[in-house]
């Protein structure tokens, strides 16, 4: 079942002088089993939107439907904990949520909160560690003696271990080196192949182009565009409008077009672009 967001509004600090309308009427449908990217300028409301997906924030108006749960304004839902098991949310800079003495115990924290016994939790931890590219020698180490990128992996493992149906990631690759970032993306794609719906907040257009199926563009708390990746990258002007730097290949295409080359809009990868250029050079000769 897809995720449906209907006229969702969120106002922070409602009724105080600091009142701020971060989301102003979001209408959206996120397809099940796909990788959806949420992009937008800083402050456009991406993090606010994704925090609604597992009920951390409750809409001030509108509603959303996810995994059979309906989230409405003013709702005090006792089932919200169940929702959080279905929808795993990895925060921006999740490494700041580590607190246990050993990595094993930190990752096991989530399952235990959801009722797993000590042994069950330990088993789950052993299974999830290799997913994030770490081996069992890490189990007994302290999470605080790791590097930033390793801490990030542990924190993501702490959510993956819950085996959520929908995985929401708020800039999971921010601050990682290129290799670490693409490893991370590969992991999410693998999880997607296993059937998980992935929702990804990202600033990196190369990643969006390479890994995602759908794109949602937020601007000032509203959905500016929502489409599949192909349609999105066929309209580079959308990216320019909202001040996003398009991927290198699109930039190259735009430069060529500016110089008078005739490049079709749906030419989005190196090979097709090369082919088009080759043809035109030949014709020219």
């Amino acid at each position: 079942m897809s995720i449906k967001v209907n006229k969702l509004e969120h106002i922070y600090s409602k009724g105080t002088p600091f009142e701020y309308k971060a989301l102003q009427g979001i209408d959206l449908e996120i397809r099940e089993g796909k990788v959806t990217a949420i992009i937008g300028e800083t402050g456009s409301g991406k993090s606010t939107l994704v925090q609604h997906l597992n009920g951390l924030l409750i809409p001030t108006a509108g509603e959303l439907e996810i995994c059979g749960f309906k989230i409405l304004p003013l709702l005090k839902n006792k089932d919200i904990k169940k929702l959080r098991k279905e929808v795993g949310l990895v925060f921006q800079f999740p490494e700041y949520q580590l607190f246990e003495e050993t990595i094993e115990r930190d990752i096991a924290f989530g399952p235990k909160n959801f009722g797993a016994t000590e042994e069950e939790a330990k088993e789950l931890v052993k299974k999830v560690l290799p997913l994030v590219g770490l081996d069992e020698s890490y189990l007994e180490r302290s999470p605080f003696e790791l590097s930033g990128g390793q801490k990030r992996r542990i924190a993501i493992a702490g959510i993956l271990v819950l085996d959520p149906k929908v995985l929401v990631l708020d800039e999971p690759a921010a601050g990682l080196d290129p290799k670490g970032a693409s490893d991370m993306m590969d992991l999410f794609i693998r999880l997607n192949k296993e059937g998980k719906t992935i929702i990804l907040v990202s600033h990196d257009m190369e990643h969006v182009m390479k890994y995602c199926d759908d794109v949602v563009v937020l601007d000032d708390g509203k959905v500016k565009h929502a489409s599949d990746v192909k349609t999105f990258f066929e309209h580079p002007e959308w990216m320019v409008q909202i001040g996003i730097n398009p991927p290198a290949i699109i930039r190259l295409k735009m430069m060529l077009q500016e110089k008078g080359w005739n490049i079709p809009a749906d030419c989005l990868d190196e090979d097709t672009l090369l082919e088009v250029i080759r043809k035109q050079v030949k014709n020219h000769e």
């Binding site: 105080t16 600091f18 098991k85 925060f91 607190f99 924290f109 959801f114 819950l162």
Partner: protein, 266 residues
């Protein structure tokens, strides 16, 4: 969490906002001393009126000032319960079976609650009408004369300004970590005692760690920019007292004196 009003500056344009921070600090000091004088409910009425006047002049909404009291409600209720159970003086107000509630229990609680309320509103007015930087500048200037006897006014002021500066950051951080742990199934409201202790621990440990990290970074950043507390510094902004500042201090002084008189007479 984000509705915590305590310690936030509210950029309005009012008489109180324009006052010299030194005058405002002095006023707050006098009023808080007055609150501690045992002048009974008459005294509190005088102080209350003075504070209301300030509140009116500061253009702050009464509701806003009252909201800053929200975090205290639990404490007040707790206080009431303890007092009702422990204090057995005065006359019985209400008797249920063998158990009776005595008048002093109620009065004592009311006393403390009013004191706390007056103090909180008073500090809220100060912090809501004064930019943190002005506030520290004021403190620094007030402490200046004491530097001769070894009180490092500048360092104290810097410490206070850093602490004030990081209150909102810390609140934000707490909120964020709470959300992150809630995503891992932490439930701060329900659950057994052991689970609750774990939940609090999962909040406090990351908070401490990030605070220490932040402090470390801040210290490095300050040192890298050549900060040395013992060097003389010049100021971009120079404070100047005006008539309204003196007037404000006179009003608070009168309030203090009236309270002392009532206290002595009673």
């Amino acid at each position: 969490m984000n509705n915590v009003a305590l310690g936030r500056y509210l950029p309005l344009d009012s008489t109180i906002h324009k006052m010299d921070p030194r005058a405002k600090i002095a006023m707050m000091f006098m009023i808080i001393v007055a609150v501690f004088i045992p002048a009974g409910f008459y005294g509190y009425a005088v102080i209350g009126l003075t504070i209301l006047l300030c509140l009116y002049l500061s253009k702050l909404k009464v509701g806003y000032a009252l909201r800053s009291m929200k975090p205290m409600i639990i404490m007040m209720v707790f206080l009431l319960i303890v007092n009702v159970l422990v204090l057995k003086t005065g006359y019985p107000l209400l008797t249920i079976g063998k158990f009776s509630i005595y008048s002093d229990a109620i009065f004592q609680t009311l006393y403390i609650v009013i004191r706390l309320m007056l103090m909180i509103i008073c500090t809220t007015i100060l912090t809501a009408t004064t930019k943190p930087l002005d506030l520290t500048l004021g403190i620094e200037k007030i402490l200046k004369p004491f530097e001769k006897i070894g009180i490092p006014g500048h360092i104290i002021a810097m410490m206070i300004s850093i602490a004030l500066r990081f209150i909102p950051t810390l609140i934000e951080e707490t909120q964020r970590i709470m959300n992150a742990q809630a995503s891992r199934g932490v439930d701060l409201e329900n659950g057994k005692l052991k689970e609750k202790i774990m939940a609090v621990l999962s909040l406090i440990v990351p908070l401490f760690i990030s605070s220490f990290e932040r402090a470390d970074q801040l210290a490095n950043a300050m040192e890298a920019r050549g900060y040395n507390p013992s060097h003389p510094r010049t100021r971009y902004k120079v404070l100047k007292m005006t008539t309204i500042d003196y007037l404000g201090m006179v009003v608070s002084a009168v309030c203090l004196i009236v309270c002392i008189v009532i206290g002595v007479v009673l």
